[in-house]
Amino acid sequence: MKTNSLSVLIVVTLGAAALAACSKQDPVVATPPPAAPAAATEPAATPYPENVYWGDTHVHTGWSADAGLDGAVTSPEDAFRFARGDEVKSNTGQMARLKRPLDWMVITDHSDGMGTINEIRAGNPEMIAEPFLKRMYEAMSGTDEAKSAAATFELIDLQSNGKLPKQVMDPKWMVTAWEKTIRIADKYNNPGKFSALIGYEWTVNAGGGDNLHRNVIYRDGADKAGQELPLTTFQTQDPEELWEWMEKYEAKTGGRLLAIPHNGNLSNGRMFEETTFTGGPLTKGYAEARQKWEPLYEVTQIKGQSESQPSLSPEDEFASWDLWDRGNLNGNAKTPGMYRAEYWREALKSGLRLEAMLGANPFKYGANGATDTHTGLTTADDDNFWGKFKTVEPSPTRWKPAIVGAGKPGAMYGWEQAAAGWMGVWATANTREALWDAMKRKETYATTGPRMKVRFFGGFDLADSDTPDLVKAGYTKGVPMGGDLKAAPEGKAPVFLIAALKDPDGANLDRVQVIKGWLGADGQTQEKVFDVKWAGDRKPDASGKLPPVGNTVDLKTATYVNSIGAPELVTSWSDPEFDAKLKAVYYVRVLEIPTPRWTAYDAVRYKVSMAKNVAMIHQERAFTSPIWYTPN
């Protein structure tokens, strides 16, 4: 009766919160923490992160009310099985399979609407007819903690001796959606091969669709995650209260949590607004809390990218891609000025300015990529893309209908879905703990789907001669992506070691760029994109612009060839405009050569011709977490 004992313990814990242990955790610093205690089955951890592990932090199954409404029937089991490489029946009855398995995944069904009433707590007559359960119910509903504790111990005793009343053993009273979700994650968690992480989405649509959603990711197993119910937006819509809830969870269970916001592009100016949720001024405390609880930001997903917007980055020739920038989640139109508080790059820059004012940076976000699929099927490959909802699973017509905000100015259409994204995590092992620790220290990068390997190190003692063994040099003499550089030694500029290796089954690489944001002496933020390494013998023109890499895409067959580009680009780079007095932030962008978009694969597969404005070719890309430079 293993499956029931956990639920029973959860009930017990709920009734006797006073018993919970208190162990408060310190905020994490940007160095790899010691490896978790090794269990017999634990895979060996490497001294520093040698492997990148691919996964999705954002997957809804049919258990999410909105997915279910749309007809999704996939269960959490289906979602995990699909991610680890099994063939699964999709919501439209088609068989679906990833060409290559993922290494890990988080199911993030919406917390709103999760769970059913626990019948003991509610005093169900059928339950409390049994004298022991009646006593327990009374203990739980009373205020006498001693009595409650006594009932708890009695229950544990009965449970461990297999003598629980049959009403308790009857699973129909014991299971809530949350308990079941976390149990399934435990079951599918297979350290070393496939890590199944626990999570949920806290889905705030403020003021009619302003997207302030956050995914909450657990380091823990069901034993800890089951001690607290997820926070719902019925309880609060204020992110500060979410952080407060996270803090309480950690204090109570000794577990660890982090949150990842997403879709600032659909927040109508609210994701990175420079006030609190309730309109108050930002404070140092707010900035510290946000930085502590939210190490990563979801830069790319099916509902568009939140990395950069052409009007914010007019000098960036690659800023216009996968834009969902016409309205909010309900299709309500934007007003001028909203973009500024919606995109990651701008937030990284604003963060430097706010840090100068507040003494802490509220927007110190590393890079995360995820799908936000509502089909239970995590897909980010353009030639195997299963869409956002059941209604846009593969079909000849799925490119056509409006899928968000139908009939409104901000409506978005089927073809505008992005087959994106996933996150690469540089971790010391494929375990929940090692992956979570890497996310917490921001040693991550987002891609639009391709699994290219990207390294990014910075340090004042690094040199070009370190590139042949850049991993060892990077970790011993510098900091990896997500790290911090402090006060430059007199006359020195940081040196960055950068390497990108193509997806083993994907397209060649066009170029590697460094994107720099900084806070000028005049208090204004600036940005600049540097081409630092590229394929072929192209030469920048007089204005410094590198010619395009070319294009081998054949739209008649939806194919491309790796006759252009390079499989690997490795370089060192030092900022020619470095000013030791100015705060700056650097991240790497890697561009692939042009490849067919999922619409092009659909057009060939279904022999349909789509409207002229439907994008067919794109350059897939990766974004690393930044390295920040902060002068004294």
């Binding site: 499956t3 005093g123 997820p230 290796l501």
Partner: protein, 282 residues
């Protein structure tokens, strides 16, 4: 449906009239003893408080608890009124939710029966392909990037193969890359993950103990020396117990859902009053 269109809808007028009559009747007729009573029992209040405590790790204050109870009462009244108006009927969200709840009950009932070792051993041997452990490989590799060697690629590979065979160190050959020069005891599926399908396949049959190649991959060409290749095997139940149990339980779950539905379906006469082919896209 647009609001304006909805306002013109005769059905809505009918419903509103019905509602009016219903409310009038409520004023005029004697109040029924139970029909309009919302009882907030001790159990309900305790449930609300526990739910709050489970989220916030503290009991609700009096004000918060009052709020929860008010909200409970409001839910109850509006829900009942809505149900009375027939709003539950054909609501896809409610339908889906209730279906899910029923399916969870069915699954849970199925999962409470544990499997015996005999059943699991039998399941393991019948589904051997699912549980086979992959070969484990240790090897050195030297990578040749076509973009760096251009026309010189083949001659460079040939020269390096000759040098390596004569005892040159792998570090002295090729030009280094992000790909690991030495791989120690990596299962084949992870070799495929890092080097691609084509490369993995070649390593399954490449000779052990000598330099071989060139082996092509999605990156370019490689010279490879396998130092050890442990063959794949079928694990014992004890070794694979967690995986076998998980897969067995999933089969049970799916079987329980399917057989339960088949049983229920038999009790229903389903009339499909329309033409599928006509409604389908093509």
């Amino acid at each position: 449906m647009k609001i304006t269109a909805l306002l013109k809808e005769p059905l809505l007028h009918f419903l509103l009239l019905g509602l009016l009559l219903f409310l009038l009747y409520g004023k005029v007729a004697p109040t029924s003893a139970d029909g309009n009573r919302v009882t907030v029992s001790r159990g309900v209040i305790a449930g609300l408080a526990t739910q709050f405590q489970a989220t916030w790790s503290r009991p609700p204050t009096a004000v918060e608890l009052n709020g929860l109870v008010d909200s409970y009462v409001r839910d109850e009244i509006l829900f009942r009124e809505g149900v009375a108006l027939g709003l539950v009927k054909d609501d896809p969200v409610i339908k889906r939710r209730v279906r899910q709840k029923l399916e969870v009950l069915i699954e849970e009932e199925g999962s409470s029966r544990g499997a015996s070792d005999t059943q699991l051993t039998d399941y393991l041997s019948k589904n051997a392909a699912k549980f086979r452990m992959p070969p484990v490989l240790s090897f050195d590799q030297v990578f040749f990037d076509p973009a760096r060697y251009g026309d010189q690629l083949e001659s460079a590979v040939t020269a390096s193969l000759a040098a390596l065979t004569k005892g040159a160190t792998p570090e002295s050959q090729g030009r280094g890359s992000m790909l690991p020069a030495r791989v120690d005891q990596l299962p084949l599926d992870l070799v495929v993950r890092d080097f691609g399908e084509e490369f993995g396949k070649a390593l399954e049959s490449a000779p052990v103990g000598q330099w071989a190649g060139p082996v092509p991959s999605g990156f370019g060409l490689h010279l490879v020396r396998i130092s050890a290749r442990k063959p794949g095997y079928l694990p014992s139940l004890d070794e694979a117990r967690k995986a076998v149990t998980r897969e067995w339980e999933n089969d049970q779950r799916e079987a329980a859902l399917a057989s339960n539905y088949a049983r229920l379906r038999k009790d229903y006469a389903v009339v499909i009053d329309g033409d599928n082919d006509e409604a389908a896209a093509r």
